[in-house]
C-alpha cells in the first residue's frame, strides 16, 4: 500500500505520469481508462487529505525530503484541501463523461492526445493547489494552461483554433505578469517559499516593489481567473472547446485561479497590505459588481447556449470575488462556497450542453426549437441547473448568495446587498431564453427526429446536478469546509 503521508505529492505525480503513459499506449480506449483511473485516484486522495487536514491541521510535505524553504514544500490547509476535493470531484465525473462526448467532438486520431492532456491539465491544476512554493506554482500554472490551450484546440470546429490562440496570447500575458510579481517578491525577500516570503516581508511589507508585486500578481491572476474586464478569452474558449473540456475548465480552472488570488492576498501579503495600503477591496468590489451585471446582460444576448453559459461564468466569478472583497469571515465563506457550488452547477450545465451537441451537433439556440419534446431529461436538467445559477432556494446557488447578501449587510453595504439579489433577475432572463426556445417553440423537423442523450453522458451530468441540489438543501458539508477555509485564510500568513 501507499503510505498516506505521500498523498500530497502522489496527487500531482500520478496524473503527471499517466499523461506520457497514455501517449505510449496510444489506444483511445486505454487512454480513457487511464484518465478515469487517474481522476478517481485524485478524488480519493483529495478526500483523504481533506479529512487529514480537518483532523490534524496543516499538512506540510517536503519534496525529496529537502526541507523548506530550500526545497519545494507542498502545504495543505483547509482552504486548498477544499479546492482539491472540488477538483477531484469534477475530474472524476467529467472523465467518464468524456468517452462518449470526445468521440463526436474530437477527431479520432487525437483521442489519445486528449486523454493525455486531460491528465496533464489535472496534474497542473492539482499542483497549483497543493504547492507552497511561488515558482513551483508558476510552473504548474503553465502546465495546466498549455494543456488547456491544446485541449480547446482539439475540437473539430475550426473556430476552436482561433479561440485557443486567443486564450494562448492572453494566458501568456497573464503568466508573464505573475512571473514578474513572483520575481519582485523574490527580489525583496530572497525566497520563493510562500510562507517564508510572508515572514520575511516584515519591514518591507509596504515598500514600492512589494506593492508593485501585488499589482502584477493581481492583474496576472485575474486574467487567468477571467475577472471582468480581463475575461475576453473565456467565452470563445468555453464555447468552442470540446464539451468535456468546457465542463472541466469552467468548473475548476478559473476557480483554482481565484484560489491562488486568495492565497497571495491572505497568506502572503496579508489583509493590511492588500485592503488598507492598497485599495484592492474597492477595486475587486467595483469589478465584481460590473461583472455580475454586464456579463449577465451579455449572456442574455448570446445566440449559442455554450456561449451563454460562458458569459454566465464570467458573471458568477464576479459573485466569488465580491465575497473576497469584503475580507470578512461571512464574505469569504460565501465566496469560497460559491467556488464549489458554481463549479458543480456549471460543470453539470456544460455537460448537458455537450449532450445536446452529441445529438444535435450544435448548441445554437435557434436550432433547439421544441427540444424538450425529444430530449426531456437533458432539457429538464438544464432548467434545474439554470435555477441554480439564479439562486433559487433548494439549489446550491441559493446558499452562496445568501452568504454574500449577509456579508454585504454586515459590512453596511445595503446597496450592494440589493445589487446581489437584483442581479439574479438577469439570470432569470437568460435562463428563460433557453426555456422558451426548448419548451414553447414548435419542434422543427431536425429536433423532432432526435433521441434523448445516452446514459453515458446523462449519468455523469446527473451526478453533478444532484450534487448541486443536495448541497443546496443540506449544505453543512460544503459550508463547514468553506468556513474552515475562510478561517484558515483570515488567520493570515501561516
Amino acid at each position: 500500500m501507499i503510505d498516506s503521508a505521500h498523498l500530497p505529492v502522489l496527487q500531482v505525480v500520478v496524473p503527471l505520469v499517466c499523461a506520457p503513459l497514455i501517449v505510449l499506449v496510444r489506444g483511445s480506449r486505454a487512454g480513457w481508462a487511464i484518465a478515469v483511473a487517474a481522476s478517481v485516484f485524485f478524488l480519493g486522495a483529495s478526500i483523504a487529505i481533506l479529512m487529514e487536514v480537518q483532523r490534524a491541521g496543516v499538512i506540510s510535505y517536503a519534496i525529496g525530503s529537502w526541507p523548506a524553504p530550500w526545497g519545494i514544500e507542498y502545504r495543505i490547509d483547509a482552504a486548498n484541501a477544499f479546492m482539491l476535493v472540488l477538483l477531484g470531484f469534477v475530474a472524476a465525473v467529467v472523465a467518464p463523461y468524456a468517452w462518449a462526448s470526445v468521440r463526436v467532438e474530437v477527431p479520432r486520431e487525437n483521442h489519445y492526445l486528449f486523454y493525455a492532456l486531460y491528465c496533464l491539465a489535472l496534474a497542473g491544476l492539482g499542483g497549483i493547489t497543493v504547492t507552497g512554493d511561488a515558482f513551483n506554482l508558476f510552473v504548474f500554472l503553465e502546465i495546466s494552461s498549455l494543456a488547456s490551450y491544446v485541449l480547446i484546440a482539439l475540437d473539430r470546429d475550426r473556430r476552436a483554433l482561433l479561440a485557443a490562440y486567443q486564450y494562448l496570447i492572453l494566458g501568456t500575458i497573464g503568466a508573464t505578469f505573475i512571473v514578474i510579481g513572483v520575481g519582485l517578491l523574490y527580489l525583496m525577500t530572497g525566497t520563493l517559499n510562500l510562507a517564508d516570503i510572508a515572514t520575511r516581508l516584515g519591514d518591507v511589507r509596504q515598500s514600492r516593489p512589494v506593492l508593485a508585486a501585488l499589482a502584477f500578481l493581481t492583474v496576472g491572476i485575474s486574467l487567468k481567473a477571467a475577472l471582468f474586464p480581463l475575461h475576453m478569452w473565456l467565452p470563445g474558449a468555453y464555447a468552442h472547446a470540446p464539451s468535456a473540456v468546457s465542463a472541466l475548465l469552467a468548473a475548476t480552472a478559473t476557480k483554482v485561479s481565484v484560489y491562488v488570488l486568495l492565497r497571495f492576498y491572505f497568506s502572503v501579503f496579508g489583509t493590511t497590505t492588500v485592503f488598507t495600503a492598497m485599495p484592492m477591496g474597492d477595486v475587486l468590489l467595483a469589478l465584481s459588481i460590473v461583472a455580475m451585471i454586464v456579463a449577465s446582460i451579455a449572456a442574455f444576448f448570446q445566440s449559442d447556449l455554450k456561449r451563454l453559459l460562458a458569459y454566465s461564468s464570467v458573471a458568477q466569478i464576479g459573485y466569488i470575488t465580491l465575497g473576497v472583497s469584503f475580507a470578512s469571515a461571512t464574505g469569504l465563506t460565501g465566496g469560497i462556497v460559491h467556488l464549489f457550488n458554481h463549479g458543480v452547477t456549471k460543470g453539470a450545465l456544460f455537460m448537458l450542453a455537450g449532450t445536446i451537441v452529441f445529438r444535435l451537433g450544435s448548441t445554437r439556440l435557434d436550432r433547439m426549437a421544441g427540444l424538450a419534446r425529444s430530449m426531456p431529461i437533458t432539457c429538464a436538467g438544464i432548467v434545474v441547473g439554470g435555477l441554480g445559477l439564479i439562486g433559487v432556494p433548494g439549489t446550491a446557488g441559493f446558499v452562496s448568495k445568501w452568504y454574500l447578501v449577509l456579508a454585504a449587510i454586515e459590512a453596511g453595504a445595503w446597496g450592494i446587498a440589493f445589487v446581489v439579489v437584483a442581479s439574479s433577475m438577469i439570470a432569470v432572463a437568460y435562463v428563460w431564453r433557453f426555456v422558451e426556445v426548448a419548451y414553447f417553440r414548435a419542434p422543427s423537423d431536425e429536433t423532432s427526429r432526435l433521441k434523448e442523450g445516452p446514459a453515458a453522458l446523462l449519468v455523469p451530468a446527473g451526478i453533478l446536478l444532484a450534487a448541486s441540489v443536495y448541497f443546496g438543501l443540506v449544505p453543512s458539508l460544503t459550508l463547514g469546509a468553506a468556513s474552515g477555509a475562510a478561517e484558515a485564510l483570515l488567520a493570515g500568513p501561516r
Partner: protein, 486 residues
C-alpha cells in the same frame, strides 16, 4: 397517527400523488382516481391535525439543517392549519371540476396538468406549515415554479406572454424584496423562526421597521398589493380550474397568508402598533381595494373581472392585518377562508359558461341563467359572499374587519370597506341580473344546456359551503381566535 407524522404526510402525499398520476399517464380514469384519492387522503391527514391544534398543541418537525440556525422545519399553528384545510379541501372539489373541464374542452397535456397541480398543493402545504421564514420562502418559490407550466398550459403566444409576466413579477419581487427582507431580519434578529409576538421587537428603529415592512409587503408578490398585481390578470390565460384553485385559493392565499404570518409572527402586532413608519400600509391596501374594484367594473372579460376582484379582496386581508388589532387580524384569517370559497365558486361558474357556451365576455351573458340555472345560481351565491352580505361567509369576515377598523378608529379603512362593498355589488350583480332577467341575445346561436355534471356538482358544493360557513363558523373562528391569543 401522530401529529408529527401527519405533517410529513401532508407534505409527502401530494408528491406521492404526483408520481402516481405520472405513472397512470396511459389510463385517464386511473389517473383521475389517483388525484381524487390523494386529495381525500390529504384532507383526512390535515383534519387529523385539527384536534391537537385546537387543544393548544403546536406539533412540529425538523427535516434538515439547511443553513446554520435555519433548518427546514414545520410547525402547525392555527392560521397555517386554517389555510391548509381550505386548500386541501378545495383541491378535491377542484379536481372533480377539472375532470369535467379538461375532458369537456379536450385539453392537451392533461397528465402534466394534474402532476403540476399536485406539486402546487405540496408546495402550498409547505407554505402553510413552514416554521420559519426560510422554509416558507423555499416553498413559496417552489409554488411559483410549479404553477408556471399550468399558466402557460396552452403554449400559445398569449400563454407565453402571460407566463413571462407571471414569472417575472413573482420571481423578481420575491428575490429582490422578500429574500432581501429575510436577510435583514436574520441580520437583526438572529433567527427567522415564526414566534407569537414577533422576533423583531426592540431590535430595529422606527424607520428601519417601516422599510423592512415595505420590503416584505411588496416582496410577497403573491398578495398582489399594487403596483405588483399585474401577474394575476396575466395568469388568467391558464385553463379555468387553474385560475379557480390556484389564482383564487392556493397561490394568492399563500401570498396573503404570508403577509398575515409576517405581521403576526415576525413583527408582532403589539410591537409595531402605533409606530409612525407602518402607517402607510392600510392606505396602500385601501388604494388597491378601490382601484382594483374600479378596473373590475370596467372589464368586460369575465375572468379578468374576477381577477381584479381577487386583487381587491386580497387587499382586504392585507388591510385587516395592517390595522394591527386582534379583531381585524381575526377578520384577516377568516377572510382567507371566506374569500376562497366564494371566489372559487365564481371561477367555477366562469369555466362552466366557457365549457358549455364558449362565452368569455360579460356582455354575452344575457339570459344565460335560464339555460344554466345551477351555474348562475352558484354564481349568485358567490357574488353575495364577495359583496359581504348574509347569509354567506363573506359577511362574517367583513364584520370582523369592520369591527377591528372601528376599534382602531381607522376611518379610511371603514370608508374603503363601505365603498368597496358598493363597487363589488356594482361589478358582480349586473352579471346575475343579465343572466336571469335579460332576454337571450343569441336566439340563433347553438343550443347548449348545463355544463358537464362533475362541474355542476363542484360548483354547488362550494356554493353550499359558502353559505354553511356563515351558519357554522365555529372552526375557522376558533382557529382565528387562537391566532391572536384570545
Amino acid at each position: 397517527m401522530t401529529a408529527e407524522l401527519a405533517i410529513l404526510g401532508a407534505l409527502a402525499l401530494p408528491l406521492l400523488g404526483a408520481a402516481m398520476i405520472a405513472l397512470a399517464n396511459r389510463s385517464p380514469n386511473a389517473r383521475e382516481a389517483a388525484t381524487l384519492a390523494t386529495g381525500v387522503a390529504l384532507l383526512a391527514t390535515v383534519v387529523s391535525l385539527v384536534a391537537p391544534v385546537r387543544s393548544g398543541e403546536r406539533p412540529s418537525v425538523t427535516l434538515v439543517e439547511m443553513l446554520p440556525g435555519m433548518p427546514i422545519a414545520f410547525t402547525v399553528e392555527p392560521l397555517g392549519l386554517l389555510f391548509a384545510l381550505v386548500a386541501s379541501g378545495l383541491w378535491i372539489v377542484n379536481s372533480l371540476y377539472s375532470i369535467g373541464y379538461m375532458r369537456g374542452n379536450a385539453e392537451k397535456h392533461q397528465t402534466r396538468f394534474y402532476v403540476c397541480f399536485a406539486g402546487a398543493i405540496a408546495a402550498t402545504m409547505g407554505v402553510a406549515f413552514a416554521a420559519n421564514g426560510l422554509t416558507l420562502f423555499l416553498f413559496y418559490e417552489m409554488l411559483t415554479l410549479v404553477t408556471y407550466p399550468l399558466v402557460t398550459h396552452h403554449g400559445t403566444e398569449d400563454a407565453k406572454r402571460g407566463g413571462r409576466v407571471y414569472l417575472g413579477v413573482l420571481l423578481s419581487t420575491s428575490i429582490m424584496f422578500f429574500l432581501f427582507a429575510l436577510a435583514i431580519t436574520w441580520h437583526a434578529a438572529g433567527t427567522l423562526d415564526f414566534v407569537p409576538g414577533g422576533i423583531l421587537s426592540g431590535r430595529l428603529g422606527n424607520a428601519a421597521i417601516g422599510g423592512l415592512l415595505a420590503l416584505y409587503m411588496f416582496g410577497i408578490g403573491k398578495a398582489a398589493l399594487m403596483p405588483f398585481h399585474r401577474w394575476l390578470p396575466a395568469a388568467m390565460v391558464a385553463p379555468t380550474p387553474v385560475s379557480a384553485l390556484l389564482h383564487a385559493v392556493a397561490v394568492v392565499k399563500a401570498g396573503v397568508f404570508t403577509v398575515v404570518k409576517v405581521i403576526v409572527y415576525v413583527f408582532g402586532i403589539d410591537s409595531i402598533r402605533g409606530l409612525s413608519s407602518v402607517d402607510w400600509l392600510p392606505t396602500v391596501a385601501a388604494f388597491t381595494i378601490v382601484a382594483a374594484s374600479i378596473v373590475a367594473l370596467r372589464s368586460d372579460n369575465l375572468k379578468r373581472r374576477l381577477a381584479y376582484s381577487t386583487v381587491s379582496q386580497l387587499s382586504y386581508v392585507i388591510l385587516a392585518a395592517a390595522l394591527l388589532t386582534p379583531l381585524s387580524v381575526m377578520g384577516a384569517a377568516m377572510h382567507i377562508a371566506a374569500h376562497a370559497f366564494g371566489k372559487i365558486t365564481l371561477f367555477f361558474a366562469a369555466g362552466a359558461i366557457y365549457t358549455a357556451a364558449h362565452k368569455t365576455e360579460v356582455s354575452q351573458l344575457d339570459g344565460i341563467g335560464r339555460r344554466m340555472p345551477w351555474t348562475m345560481g352558484a354564481f349568485a351565491v358567490g357574488a353575495v359572499s364577495m359583496i359581504g352580505l348574509p347569509p354567506t361567509a363573506g359577511f362574517a369576515s367583513k364584520w370582523f374587519i369592520l369591527s377591528g377598523a372601528y376599534e382602531a378608529g381607522h376611518w379610511v379603512a371603514i370608508a374603503t370597506i363601505a365603498a368597496s362593498t358598493l363597487l363589488s355589488a356594482g361589478y358582480l350583480l349586473p352579471i346575475v341580473f343579465r343572466a336571469f332577467f335579460r332576454p337571450s341575445a343569441d336566439g340563433h346561436g347553438h343550443a347548449h344546456g348545463e355544463a358537464p355534471l362533475p362541474m355542476v356538482v363542484a360548483m354547488v358544493a362550494t356554493a353550499t359551503a359558502t353559505v354553511l360557513m356563515f351558519f357554522f363558523a365555529d372552526l375557522p373562528l376558533s382557529l382565528a381566535r387562537q391566532l391572536v391569543g384570545g
